[in-house]
């Protein structure tokens, strides 16, 4: 089990606050730290990796103490077995894809690990390319593969998909699920995307202003304890059209455009640009397998 208690004062956009959280993670679990930006999510991850030092707390990973100010233990990042996928991928521009992976090999390790991972991630074709020539999704894959080379005990993912388009993001999320199944590695994901957390994590910690506000299974946390019998979507009103009897609303939900009809009385207070909550009874919807 991983136990992480981290206390550290931070400077935020809305003034100073204290990051003060305590999290337990089971082996092989994928947990998400969820919350808006500037609440200390990344700092928590950096403390786990040893890139920043908490003012107080304790970090122990599978029985080994990584950080304990009382015993004056603070392992260097090099001594902690973590894989870290940075938000900007942090691939070394001077090395080819293959060299990037090999650079992560411990001195006496065999090179097969690199080849296996490249095959597994389907990036063999890219082995001689430099990072500058790769697309965002390819860079992400290489960064993931590189983080796994040294067989880390924890994989830390810092907003790994924020810079990618929807389709690539979806594919890579599937990829992470697949890799996690293969290696059974414990993952900590930092994200501000509900759908991502919902899809990937078994457990979510909702962080607000440095404190954990809620935690549990994503399905429960995000529906606040009760599974609703309704579809609820938030969207942006793009256009209102007067069809005499009814009004037609064009609403952007996610990246899909939906048209819904409402009574004139409901349309009266609306104008283009408003944020809307669309609710519909989920009884007997059309369900089509894709």
């Amino acid at each position: 089990m991983i136990q992480a208690q981290v206390k550290k004062s931070l400077k935020g956009q809305q003034g100073d606050f204290v990051l003060d959280i305590s999290i337990n993670i089971q082996q092989g679990e994928m947990v998400a730290i969820f919350g808006p930006s500037g609440t200390g999510k990344t700092t928590f991850l950096r403390c786990l990796a040893g890139l920043e030092q908490p003012e107080n707390g304790m970090i122990s990973v599978f029985g080994k103490v990584w950080f304990d100010p009382i015993k004056k233990t603070n392992l260097k990042p090099q001594e902690r077995k973590v894989g870290y996928v940075f938000q900007d991928y942090a691939l070394f521009p001077n090395m080819t894809v293959k060299r990037n992976l090999e650079f992560a090999l411990p001195a006496n390790n065999n090179r097969n690990r690199v080849n296996e991972l490249m095959e597994l991630m389907d990036i063999v074709d890219l082995e001689n390319r430099k990072p500058d020539t790769l697309s965002g999704g390819q860079k992400q894959k290489v960064a993931l593969a590189r983080a796994l080379v040294a067989q880390p005990q924890i994989l830390l993912l810092d907003e790994p998909f924020s810079a990618l388009d929807n389709e690539t993001r979806c594919n890579l999320q599937d990829e992470i699920i697949r890799l996690q199944k293969i290696f059974g590695i414990t993952c900590v994901l930092v994200s501000h995307d509900v759908s991502e957390v919902y899809k990937l994590a078994q457990k979510v910690f909702v962080l607000d202003n440095g404190k954990i506000k809620e935690s549990g299974e994503p399905a429960k946390v995000f529906s606040h304890g009760m599974t609703s019998g309704k579809f609820r979507f938030t969207g942006e009103l793009l256009e209102i059209e007067n069809l005499d009897v009814l009004f037609s609303l064009t609403v952007l939900v996610g990246n899909q455009i939906a048209k819904v009809a409402v009574m004139p009385s409901e349309a009266k207070s609306l104008k283009a640009g408003d944020r809307l909550l669309l609710v519909s009874k989920a009884f007997n919807p059309m369900v089509v397998k894709l």
Binding site: A49, G50, L51, K76, P77, Q78, R80, V82, G83, Y84, F86, Q87, D88, A90, L91, F92, P93, N94, F103, A104, P106, R146, V149, A150
Partner: protein, 220 residues
């Protein structure tokens, strides 16, 4: 026309020595400056940059005083290491290193600073120590700045006059550099010889800078 190549050769010998020492000393120093959070760092940066703004004669004057066997430092060098720095080639090398220091350190330091921090951190997390991170990640990724700094330091040493005149004087074969020879020949009204030295310096300096810009363009 008298074509005495000695001052020119001496100039390029001095520039080569200076540049080698600068790379060995200046690059780690620039790295240290870029990553240091010491309080006195601004003071150190200011001292390093002084040669950029001071008249070369000021630097030369103080170095001459310091190197003089009449004074403590010069006497100490003389008695303990047997080193006479005033009016000698070794003295010229040391003065040039100090004088050209900011030309190498400044571009290299700012290049280290502008490297994304995540690159260094990624290398650390992957288990690499400071030295390996420096040699394999940081240094290769500032290559253009390193090249520019090296060439500028070399070219700047070739172009020295004030410092080397103060500290080296005009001893043929030892401290008589091309820039000093030009001044000397003009004073003696030997315009042709002066022109020979000057022209060679112009052509070589141009070629050095040209190759720098060509290499940097190919890198992109």
């Amino acid at each position: 026309m008298i074509s005495d190549w000695q001052p020119l050769l001496l100039t390029f010998k001095l520039a080569s020595f200076t540049t080698c020492i600068l790379i060995i000393v200046g690059v780690p120093f620039a790295w240290w400056l870029s990553s240091s959070s010491l309080r006195i760092r601004p003071a150190i940066e200011a001292i390093v940059s002084l040669p950029l703004v001071l008249p070369p004669s000021v630097l030369g004057f103080y170095l001459l005083i310091a190197f003089s066997p009449e004074n403590f430092f010069g006497r100490w060098l003389d008695q303990n290491i047997g080193l006479h720095l005033a009016f000698s080639f070794k003295g010229l090398v040391i003065a040039s290193v100090i004088y050209s220091f900011p030309f190498l350190v400044q571009p290299v330091q700012s290049a280290f600073k502008s490297l994304p921090r995540s690159l260094t951190e990624a290398s650390q997390v992957l288990g690499n120590g400071k030295v390996r991170t420096f040699l394999c990640v940081q240094l290769p990724n500032i290559k253009p700045a390193l090249l520019a700094g090296t060439v500028m330091a070399f070219a700047h040493t070739v172009g020295e006059f004030g410092v080397v005149l103060m500290i080296g004087g005009n001893i043929p074969g030892q401290t008589r550099l091309a820039s000093i020879a030009i001044y000397d020949e003009v004073e003696a009204l030997n315009y042709q010889t002066a022109n020979f030295y000057a022209l060679v310096l112009v052509v070589i300096s141009f070629l050095i800078l040209l190759s720098l810009y060509i290499v940097n363009r190919q890198d992109k």
